[in-house]
Symmetry: C2
Subunit: 176 residues, 2 copies
């Protein structure tokens, strides 16, 4: 089970970025995203996508991210541009997660409290340059699954048939 | 030379997503992002980052994306969830780009005109699920550079020293 903890969501500014984080987490193989700020607009839009495109992905909420991290039963990975380079550490993390079953991936916004660096097992950089928590999450998860995470099937009502030109979408089953 | 063409930027809604696209393009090894909508706020914030963190990354603008694509001298890749799976096609694209030197990567917003599918060399899906153009760009570029693109050096005034806990930033050279 893979949980993504999204810290520092700002209601006014981050709706789209946080939605991208949720959809990226889902597409690359996470089971849920947990926020420390409740934003029902995001929960709704993710629910709409999951309902159509399949899978059991959930958006959840915690009042206290610090306790949430400390109490998480599994390997805790904080994505930060200041951490160790992902290519140097990803296989060690995979091995550890294989043993302990669960992984928590923490993605911050611009300001993550410094205590987060010290209550996680790994601080991992997807490049040591400033870019995007969406990009960092996607590339970290892609590497974690050896590049194959994006090939998983979701058994949704809608499915894309990969195509060299144009769009081919199959609609399966019944609406509910 | 790698150019990213960002289509469908909406001034009101996409400032942060488009900024993330620019910073991701830069961090993963592109030389410029070209927009078909001018937004100086993005140009400014990218310039600020490049000035501090190094490299020659540029934000540019085209009046007519259709002509821009048609006249581009190199391999043209459109990232879309409806395309062929990236893992199946990335080595063929690498080989082609090695021959022709330049690559154009086109990332759309939610609505990309259907003609784009037919004026590019490749339509490539980073997973056939809805997620994020930031995630798609990052993972495509990471795979294009065999996972090593994020390790490049930028020789900026600021440089991060990868660290297991906390932050270690070296400030080099003089301010201008």
């Amino acid at each position: 089970m893979i949980t993504v903890l999204r810290l520092g969501h700002r209601f006014e500014r981050d709706k789209r970025i946080s939605t991208h984080i949720c959809l990226t987490a889902r597409a690359f193989g996470a089971d849920e995203v947990v926020f420390d700020v409740r934003d029902e607009r995001i929960e709704e839009s993710v629910k709409r996508i999951t309902n159509e495109w399949g899978g059991n992905f959930k958006v959840n909420f915690t009042e206290n991210y610090n306790d949430f991290i400390k109490n998480f039963d599994g390997i805790k990975v904080h994505l930060t541009m200041y951490g160790l380079q992902v290519n140097d550490i990803i296989r060690e993390i995979s091995d550890k997660v294989n043993e302990s079953k669960n992984m928590l991936i923490i993605v911050g916004g611009q300001k993550v409290e410094s205590d987060v660096y010290f209550i996680t097992d790994y601080n991992v950089a997807v490049g040591n340059q400033p870019h995007s928590e969406v990009a960092a999450l996607a590339v970290f998860m892609d590497k974690f699954f050896n590049g194959k995470g994006i090939e998983r099937k979701f058994n949704g009502k809608i499915e894309v048939v990969p195509k060299a030109r144009g769009k081919d979408v199959v609609r399966k089953g019944k609406d509910d």
